[in-house]
């Protein structure tokens, strides 16, 4: 009898459980709710600045109340001077948003600390690290962002892929070392991306979870990519003998690098939005050259095959195009929390790529990593670290 229920009607049992749970919760809410103490203490006031727009003589903030209680922004001071502003005089309700227009003679290229004084005397701060007139989001602006995305994303990846013939000649040993160096580079990038995401999330005030967002983004990206990988693996199992494995690995690397490039595009776009790219196009060039290694990484599993040109192009687009999306998002959305989440996504993607590449670092017969592979990883790490020092000096 019970066996029948279990095997044939498991959903009945499930429904009964859910119903019982609902009844219990409803009962708790009706009866227990009154016996629970009221939340005491001062109101919890949280305001997240979602968007900052600078026009000559004015700073416009789009803010959202992310706390449990309504918030009244009574006065605002910028760099320790009270200013006139327009905005709601009524309290901003939970999860509601509002626009504040600050009357302030900000100067080009200067940092600003905006302090919102609430009705209870709490100060909520927002930093503008570098003030520049916010670009108008018109067609030519989006065009420029797309172009930047192509520069830092697609062009270098495709350039890197051009090394495929060279790698074929070099042989599997050289490819393995190159992959190992790539792992080292990526590991350092993952660390940089994570620490930057944490810094950004810390600056945002933590309304939507702060640093947890980075971890969330990384975890989701890692799990999602691993799931895609498994799905591809199953799908291609039949075609394994036909050489599908190499393309599958290449696709996974391309997706992983693509998500990483989303974060990179985000950095480019937001750097542009705060005017930093105005300091020199060489920053874009820097990204571009660095990303050629990503092209190498994408094609490295393909040295023993001759995939169609369209497949190669598709892989290049998957790896490079997200930079365009990132650049547009970064320049227009300008939201620390979203950026932290997307940086986390990039970090998770890099880690997934590393996990993907790691098996190919092994000697084809052996189970362990040889000294060459380990040395390659170390070189990758060291190169990233030491060049970082050189540049900072």
């Amino acid at each position: 009898m019970t066996a029948t229920v279990h095997t044939r009607r498991p959903w009945i049992l499930g429904l009964i459980s859910v119903a019982l749970l609902a009844i219990a919760l409803a009962g708790l809410a009706l009866l227990g709710g009154r016996t629970l103490p009221e939340r005491t203490g001062p109101p919890v006031e949280e305001i997240a600045v979602e968007h900052t727009t600078l026009t000559p003589g004015a700073i416009e903030l789009t803010v959202r109340n992310t706390g449990p209680d309504a918030v009244s922004i009574a006065q605002i001071f910028v760099n320790d001077a009270y200013i006139d502003f327009t905005g709601p005089t009524e309290p901003i309700g939970r999860l509601a948003s509002a626009r504040l227009r600050l009357d302030y003679p900000w100067q080009d290229g200067q940092p600003y600390k905006i302090s919102m004084l609430t009705s209870t005397g709490l100060v909520i701060e927002h930093d503008v690290p570098l003030a520049v007139t916010t670009p108008e989001p018109n067609a030519s602006f989006f065009g420029l962002m797309a172009l930047l995305g192509i520069y830092v994303g697609i062009v270098p990846v495709v350039l890197g892929m051009l090394f495929l013939p060279v790698m074929r000649v070099a042989g599997s040993r050289a490819v393995r070392v190159l992959l190992a160096v790539t792992v080292g580079l990526l590991a350092f990038l993952a660390w940089e991306g994570a620490s930057e995401g944490f810094e950004l999330a810390g600056r945002s005030g933590g309304a939507f979870g702060g640093t947890a967002l980075v971890v969330l983004g990384a975890g989701l990206a890692f799990l999602g990519l691993t799931a895609v990988d498994q799905w591809l693996r199953n799908r291609r199992r039949a075609a394994e003998a036909a050489g599908g494995a190499g393309v599958r690995l290449a696709l996974m690397i391309a997706i992983g690098i693509g998500l990483h490039n989303l974060g990179e595009g985000l950095a480019t776009g937001s750097a542009y939005a705060v005017g930093e790219l105005a300091l020199g196009t060489f920053l874009v060039i820097g990204f571009t050259i660095q990303n050629t290694t990503e092209g190498l990484a994408v094609v490295s599993p393909l040295t023993e095959r001759r995939p169609p040109l369209l497949t190669l192009l598709g892989l290049g687009l998957i790896a490079g195009a997200p930079a365009i999306v990132g650049a547009v998002l970064g320049a227009t959305v300008n939201n620390a929390e979203l950026s932290a989440l997307l940086l986390g996504v990039g970090v998770g993607a890099i880690i997934q790529v590393i996990v993907q590449i790691a098996p190919s670092l092994r000697e084809s017969a052996g189970r362990s990593f040889d000294a060459m592979a380990l040395g390659g990883v170390a070189v990758g790490l060291l190169v990233m670290y030491s060049t970082g020092l050189l540049v900072a000096a």
Partner: protein, 354 residues
């Protein structure tokens, strides 16, 4: 938004790739100026910076949100009235001819609107910030009946010369006056000068910063010359209660108040300002006047000025008398010449009329 670390790794990548792929070394030195603390873009460079010379709004100086005002009636005090509100107490004469002066001072917890729309859980003396200006003449016998109607223990500590048991600090004499209790502080009015009184219960800075202070003027035996007299108490509000500076600075209770309601004075009439600094959390405060100079009498304990100036600096608890005449009509600003304080509320105007 994403600055130095990102750029470092971008450049790091550049170098890594350029060495690794033998693309030739890039001139690293040239990247030096491109760090986050570099100067803004060179002139003529960015096409998206129109109008950088235009200052736009805000150049007229600091202000609260325009059109917003504090409800003085609800607060129960108005800084303009505090200005010339001297409390001489209830006087009587003893058989020996000595004047006895008595005041009622009470402590209470008050929710005060210290800036338009900003509430502050203050601890006050006589329900105002600053507390009352108690005024007497040197040699008077003073009796201050203190009642603690607050939920917190307090005292009254007077600057001046008096016996230890009248000092109004914990552990000496009557010590702490607990909620619901009262005590009479009794001492002689000496020395003449401009003093202050405040609560002296720990944590001391908080008890003072919450609003428990007032001015204590002991007039010299021979009165100072006739003048338009006023009290200005410089102070601040640490609304976040973190003990690190203040979010609002004021004279006589409400920041920027005298910008909207200038202090009215008559041309060529002697103006005497009793200037007191009870600012907490910042080491010094200052006072500067526009279009004029004043004679300064530190602590008011001598009848000769020590300085003829337009700016003086006072540490915590310091005070002095400023005497001046305005020869010209019009509006003249006064403010802390710690200009940061000025822009956070400590500024106002004199309006000189015939």
């Amino acid at each position: 938004m994403t600055s130095s670390t990102r750029r470092r790794f971008m450049l790091g990548g550049t170098v890594a790739a350029s060495t690794g792929l033998a693309l030739g070394a890039l001139p690293l030195r040239d990247y030096g100026p491109a760090t986050a603390d570099s100067p803004p873009a060179p002139p003529g460079h960015p096409a998206h910076h129109p109008n950088t010379s235009a200052h736009g709004g805000g150049v007229d100086g600091p202000t609260f949100r325009k059109g917003a005002v504090v409800d003085h009636a609800a607060n129960g005090f108005d800084p303009t009235e505090v200005l010339r509100d001297f409390d001489y107490g209830k006087t009587s004469t003893r058989p020996d001819g000595r004047t006895v002066r008595e005041w009622e001072v009470f402590a209470s917890d008050e929710d005060i609107e210290i800036a338009p729309g900003v509430r502050f859980p203050a601890w006050t003396l006589n329900s105002r910030i600053p507390g009352p200006t108690l005024r007497c003449r040197e040699g008077d016998l003073l009796r201050v009946h203190f009642t603690n109607g607050s939920h917190h223990p307090h005292t009254l500590h007077f600057h001046g010369i008096h016996p230890a048991e009248m000092d109004g600090i914990p552990g000496i004499g009557r010590g702490v006056i607990n909620p619901g209790e009262s005590f009479t502080y009794q001492f002689d009015a000496t020395p003449f000068g401009l003093h202050l009184f405040h609560c002296h219960v720990g944590p001391l800075a908080e008890h003072i910063a919450r609003g428990m202070y007032g001015t204590f003027i002991v007039d010299p035996p021979q009165p100072r010359p006739q003048a338009d007299e006023m009290v200005m108490v410089m102070h601040g509000y640490n609304t976040t209660f973190d003990g690190e500076g203040n979010q609002l600075y004021a004279v006589n209770g409400i920041p920027f108040h005298f910008m909207h309601e200038p202090v009215r004075v008559k041309r060529n009439e002697l103006v005497r300002i009793y200037l007191v600094n009870v600012l907490e959390y910042d080491p010094v405060n200052s006072f500067h006047i526009h279009g004029n100079f004043f004679d300064y009498y530190p602590t008011g304990t001598r009848l000769q000025p020590t300085e003829y100036t337009d700016t003086i600096v006072q540490g915590q608890g310091q005070r002095g008398i400023c005497e001046l005449r305005f020869p010209h009509l019009g509006r003249y600003m006064f403010h802390a010449h710690k200009t940061e304080f000025a822009e956070l509320g400590w500024m106002g105007m004199f309006e000189v009329t015939e």
